[in-house]
Symmetry: C2
Subunit: 241 residues, 2 copies
């Protein structure tokens, strides 16, 4: 019998949960995005609060996303993807390839954290408006130094191949797609200037976008649009491209 | 034949590499801390630069630490620990326990990143002196909100047991020890005020400190002292306890 997958993540944003959603959508494996169900069916933010309190058992989660995969409960985006990668067919066969994909995912998560810091450089618990001056300064360095460094790195890691590891798409390739989409949304001017330097990554993005499950997902209303509550936010004053 | 382990990490700081060093020291498995060898023997920062250029093969690393473990080359602290955990006897038997330890390690790495942000809230490429005003503001929130949140979380995850997962020490327990040491060094006033709220974590710290390999390591000159080049820095103006 197939494993039953339940994702617990904020229902109004892509956020870190989107990397998990993309993996399921690409593979076609059924999953329940629990917090997007109505509260009357056990959904809503209340479901997440309950999971953060330990309602599912397993190691206590610090934050969403949390995945229940049959009898396994696991939090932390990269750990979730590492766990489900083989069952979803999103890692190469063999431990070495699986580990390489995981390494890339962790670097992507570092980039994601830095992207979030551009609008919250002082505290996640304060509004953007209350750290706007610092955000401006941080975003300037992110655009000038960090975006180029991360893009150069992933372009080199890809090295002209069709996927980061092996020849088939892995979840790390889906995640590269997602961060390119996010950076384009948040920093369109800055990213436009970098396009010519990342031909391999742009080709990979197109390949992911055309993947059957992903194409169907992006055309559906399951794909939440980027917005200013998530990780990648478009504040024109921060896009100092 | 035993696997040969080579760690590539900055030779002058504990940093993220220290989590890997602690794992080897606790297990007693021999490893070479390559960059701490003299340049005449292939060490020094030059060795790291070469590895970041891809000299070892394997998936390209974005940053140190990088581990060569026989024929496997892997970067990203948490991925390194996940890979060596079973061979070093630092995870429970079975996939579920190994995954739980990994989840905790990833949350610890999130805390480590936030600790670094307290003195570099604008850019890793700028000096502390050039982001001191923002650092003061960020550290205030870190001390008031984030340290308590992370400590409460790990105290709950430990839940009065002798280890985070299972009954024997895992690498996540060693990492909890390391972040408690680091936070005590960087924020002694703030941490002193929190002591009474984390009896389980303090007992775990004592247990790690007394572990045979760790005790020998801490007494040796292999343990680099905390300093103001690393992640945990003691700037009294940031310790707003």
């Amino acid at each position: 019998m197939a494993v039953r997958y339940e994702l617990y993540y904020w229902p109004m944003i892509q956020g870190r949960g989107e990397f998990v959603r993309l993996a399921f959508e690409a593979s076609g494996a059924p999953y329940v995005d629990v917090a997007r169900l109505p509260e009357s069916r056990g959904g809503g933010v209340a479901a997440i609060q309950s999971v953060l309190g330990g309602a599912l058992g397993g190691p206590l989660p610090f934050a969403p996303p949390v995945l229940r995969a049959g009898r396994v409960v696991v939090a932390q985006t990269a750990a979730i993807l590492h766990h489900v990668g083989p069952a979803l067919g999103l890692v190469p066969r063999g431990d070495a390839g699986r580990l390489a994909v995981h390494q890339h995912q962790l670097t992507i998560m570092d980039l994601v954290a830095e992207a979030h810091e551009t609008h919250h450089p002082i505290a996640v618990g304060l509004y953007y408006e209350d750290q706007k001056r610092e955000a401006k300064r941080r975003a300037e360095r992110f655009v000038a130094d960090r975006i180029p460094k991360f893009l150069r790195y992933f372009e080199s890691a890809l090295d002209g191949r069709r996927a980061l590891v092996g020849s088939a798409l892995s979840y790390a390739d889906l995640s590269v797609f997602q961060v390119l989409e996010g950076l384009d949304y948040a920093f369109p001017r800055a990213m436009k200037r970098r396009r010519r330097s990342i031909p391999g990554l742009l080709a990979l993005r197109d390949r992911v976008r055309a993947q059957r499950g992903i194409a169907a997902y992006l055309a559906s209303d399951r794909r939440i649009p980027f917005n200013e509550m998530g990780i990648f936010r478009h504040y024109p004053e921060l896009d100092t491209g």
